[in-house]
Amino acid sequence: MNQSAKIHVPQTAKGHRPSFFDDPANDRMMAMMMALITEVSVLRDRIDTVEAIAEKKGIMLAREIETYIPDPARADARERTRQEFLERVLYIFQEEAEDVARNDTADAYETAVKVSSEN
């Protein structure tokens, strides 16, 4: 079978998707969140599987995990990772705060578009 003959399984349903909130942005947000929640659950299952397989091979991962205390270097590394993670996830607030700090207004943006078209 060549590439062009590959058939594709439909992924969306025909028929207008209703909006439930006054602002459709909230519908999109909710849908993305539900999909993300699914994937978090799938990850937890996967970790559980790792523990279960390790246990079958005599490595009591789940029990060791419970009593594991990271050494100071590792604890620091985790702290950095956590902070970076939060910065990434909450990037939108940083963006907005820096916008305000720089006085990056919508008007200033319009002006930039105008200036670049005229110069």
Binding site: Q11, T12, G15, D27, T38
Partner: protein, 384 residues
């Protein structure tokens, strides 16, 4: 056991990865817990917030479910509930379709390699698909019942069987055949001497509910018809691999190519509510044409509005408007005995009956909760 067993494997069962299984389990859990809790919450919101507010403002109660539904739709709790429920429906299908995309070619190959020894498969590429089936994808199943990707495609069958299993939280049992089993049980109980020699299942989809009739009446010739080619290819391979003899053909239940008086028994499972106002009486008339004198029809369907309180009417109406079930509400409002009469069944010859469902004890819910979670089913029966 909190978790239902998976569907029993057969010759065309797709392969699910570890994460596919997790996604599908999660969608099942989401449906069984969150959606049910949100629904219970919405009921409280309706009774304690929306209804009193409306009554205070208008000095009267709701005149009908339509007025009540419109008021409910303004409530932010209910909006969030409906939004999550819609996403849950979409993600349920997605937990199946994304996994099928990577293996569809293998499934098609497996289907082609299956040699039929028992039953037959007859497809009609020129069959006209009615608008009530292909104007939108019913219950948001991607591709709907009749998408045929060509080249021996079986995707719709794989999507439908696994999606139904997740949707019903495994209550259909290892073979997803609870409805067909209930019809067989009803027949044995009410007509113990009935021995059909030819049986037709209209709108058989993947044949899960056709097979129990073949099991219950091993001497009968069993036929299943449906509009979807990919469903039927899947149904055929499934039945063959299970050693079940069923003849599948692609036909419209409104007008089949079987001769008059071809069958002793004509059945269907949750077919009517996915048809239309004009198609439904045609299907009842076709049922009568196909039955031999003395033959029986048993169409299994969801309950109608008359048996539901206002809140449950709103819940079911939501299916019509938010879950691609265009005919669902109209069907529930129809007078089925009158419709049957208009379709040639003499007055009084059609009965609306019920058959208790055998619930599969698969969830953590109490039996009472389980019972209330499963909608009632209706049997539309008649003897020619």
């Amino acid at each position: 056991m909190l978790v239902p067993p998976p569907l029993a494997p057969h010759g065309i069962t797709p392969e699910w990865s570890h994460d596919d299984r997790s996604r599908q389990s999660f969608q099942r859990t989401l449906r069984e817990t969150v959606i049910r809790k949100l629904s219970a919450g919405s009921r409280v919101v309706f009774e304690k917030r929306v209804k009193p507010k409306f009554e205070k403002e208008h000095g009267r109660s709701f005149k009908d479910r339509h007025e009540a539904r419109k008021e409910m739709r303004k409530d932010t709790f209910y909006q969030a509930h409906l939004s999550i429920q819609r996403s849950a429906q979409e993600l349920m299908w997605a937990s199946v379709t994304y996994a099928l995309e990577r293996q569809i070619s293998d499934l098609v190959t497996r289907a082609k390699e299956t040699k039929a020894k028992l039953g037959t498969l007859t497809l009609d590429p020129n069959l006209q698909i009615p608008r009530y089936i292909d104007s939108l994808d019913i219950h948001c199943m991607p591709g709907g019942y009749t998408t045929d990707l060509g080249d021996g495609d079986v995707a719709a069958g794989a999507i439908y069987e696994q999606g139904s299993y997740i949707y019903g939280s495994g209550r259909g049992g290892a073979y997803g055949d609870r409805l067909g089993q209930s019809i067989a049980r009803h027949l044995k109980r009410v007509y113990p001497d009935f021995k059909p020699t030819r049986i037709l299942d209209m709108g058989c989809a993947t044949g899960n509910n056709t097979v129990p009739l073949a099991d219950a009446f091993p001497d009968a010739e069993v036929h299943g018809i449906d509009l979807g080619a990919a469903l039927l290819r899947y149904a055929h391979v499934r039945a063959e691999s299970m050693g079940k003899k069923v003849h599948f053909s692609q036909q419209n239940a409104e007008k089949t190519n079987f001769a008059d008086e071809s069958f002793d028994l004509v059945i269907s499972n949750i077919l009517f509510h996915e048809t239309s106002r004009t198609a439904l009486p045609r299907i009842l008339a076709e049922t009568r044409r196909l039955l031999k004198p003395g033959g029986l029809m048993v169409h299994l369907e969801v309950d109608q509005f008359a048996s539901l309180d206002l809140w449950r009417q709103i819940v079911f109406d939501a299916e019509t408007y938010n879950n691609n079930e265009p005919f669902w509400s109209t069907y529930r409002d129809m007078d089925l005995e009158k419709v049957a009469e208009s379709a040639g069944w003499p007055k009084g010859s059609v009965k609306l009956d019920s058959e208790p469902m055998e619930h599969m004890p698969v969830t953590s819910q109490s039996p009472a909760q389980l019972k209330s979670a499963v909608p009632g089913f209706l049997l539309i029966t008649g003897r020619k």
